[in-house]
Point group: C2
Chain length 269, copies 2
Amino acid sequence: MYELNDNQGTRELEIIRIKSGQRSREKDQVVTETPLTIFLNDREFVTLLCSPDKQDYLAVGFLRSEGFINTADDLDELNVDYQKGIAFVRTKTTLDLVEKLYGKRTITSGCGKGTLFSHVLDSLQSKRVESAMQIEAGVLLKLMYSLQEKSSLFKKTGGVHSAAIANREKILFYCEDIGRHNAVDKIVGECILKKVPLDDKILLSSGRLSSEIVIKGAKLQLPFIVSRSAPTSLSVDLAEQMGITMVGFVRGKRLNVYSHDYRIICLES
Amino acid sequence: MYELNDNQGTRELEIIRIKSGQRSREKDQVVTETPLTIFLNDREFVTLLCSPDKQDYLAVGFLRSEGFINTADDLDELNVDYQKGIAFVRTKTTLDLVEKLYGKRTITSGCGKGTLFSHVLDSLQSKRVESAMQIEAGVLLKLMYSLQEKSSLFKKTGGVHSAAIANREKILFYCEDIGRHNAVDKIVGECILKKVPLDDKILLSSGRLSSEIVIKGAKLQLPFIVSRSAPTSLSVDLAEQMGITMVGFVRGKRLNVYSHDYRIICLES
């Protein structure tokens, strides 16, 4: 179809719409999907398919989630060529791990990217989250409402996932992507580059909670993972083992707590 | 949380439900997510996170979609140990490609697995789909209705993706998975093992149409890719280039055609 224009998040196309047997040529918005190739220490490392914004955050968050960097201090260089869709990342120390981990991949069920270079169960060697932080259920309802409000501002085409990092008061950072995991990695990357600690924060996601989201959370020592969607059995198992409070189906005035519910206070009960 | 029982697709858990400030302990169903590790020619190849059924189809479909096998005749052995979550696959000929392709991965936006070992644009070297097959728009509406009916039969927990292969008359095969791509790979694997040609079939998906679904379709010479959800810009570009008719937002009495609309007949127009 003929391309009319392209902007940050969507592209206008001419399409054929058929409605009750009537055919018409119309303009339509489709969400932009674009490749981002990460070069790590001068080596082509991986190509992610993603939304076109915040690719610096995505590159850093991806490398953090996969365990190749820990903090912003590990980075020597970070340059994104948005035109070419390339992120150049150099680390201060040589990554011997890369070669070793390359051959062991777990491909997750998740929306938006899904390779975990380490086996899913290796994550259990992560330090268990021991935070004593507690939060009132009503706060989570408000934060999820806020996530949906932000998301609806941008949503023209459907199908975009959103993720956010919040404290008790409000959403601090917000990211979107066609990929559920990319959205989380963008948030992770933003927090790393801005040196925001995550061990007292809440991760909010619009999408399903599958195991690799919990693994990302465990690596970051996040005490709360919260979604308006459903968890999977494996994500519940992992959250239980990793000490993470996992909350799903946060909708209207209700929510489900799947693990470590001692962190959720319910004032009215 | 205490695990009550486990069946094929869901697991019953005890959870804490908070509703309007009232806390209660209740039983809830969560969708099962499980690891499947594929051993290819005695080498640990990849671990997919998936729903627990049809793992033979998934292993074969994954290897086909990634280009490591073409037909059932390429297989020497296929054994799935459902208890251990392992698929043993042996090919008749040695796969020299494996080593070479290992280092080049594209991680897609998609739900449910998303590594394409070959770069996304390599797919353009696939043969363009030249099928002259045409189909009436009303048939696609009926097929999508049928996909949703099948899907609602199984849907207890939300969040499961469905995919199907259909001819003009009806859905021939139907698969579900927590991963959008896994669902498609299961269908692909089933068709390969049953030696069903795909170049005159319709791929139906419940999920978003992102680029790698189109790439899978192109490799199989599928003329039609149809979804009730939205496409991405890259998937439209690829469908256009690969000669695939891509149809989205098939809902009720309407649908959108994003590429090669000459294959869609509209009797009433």
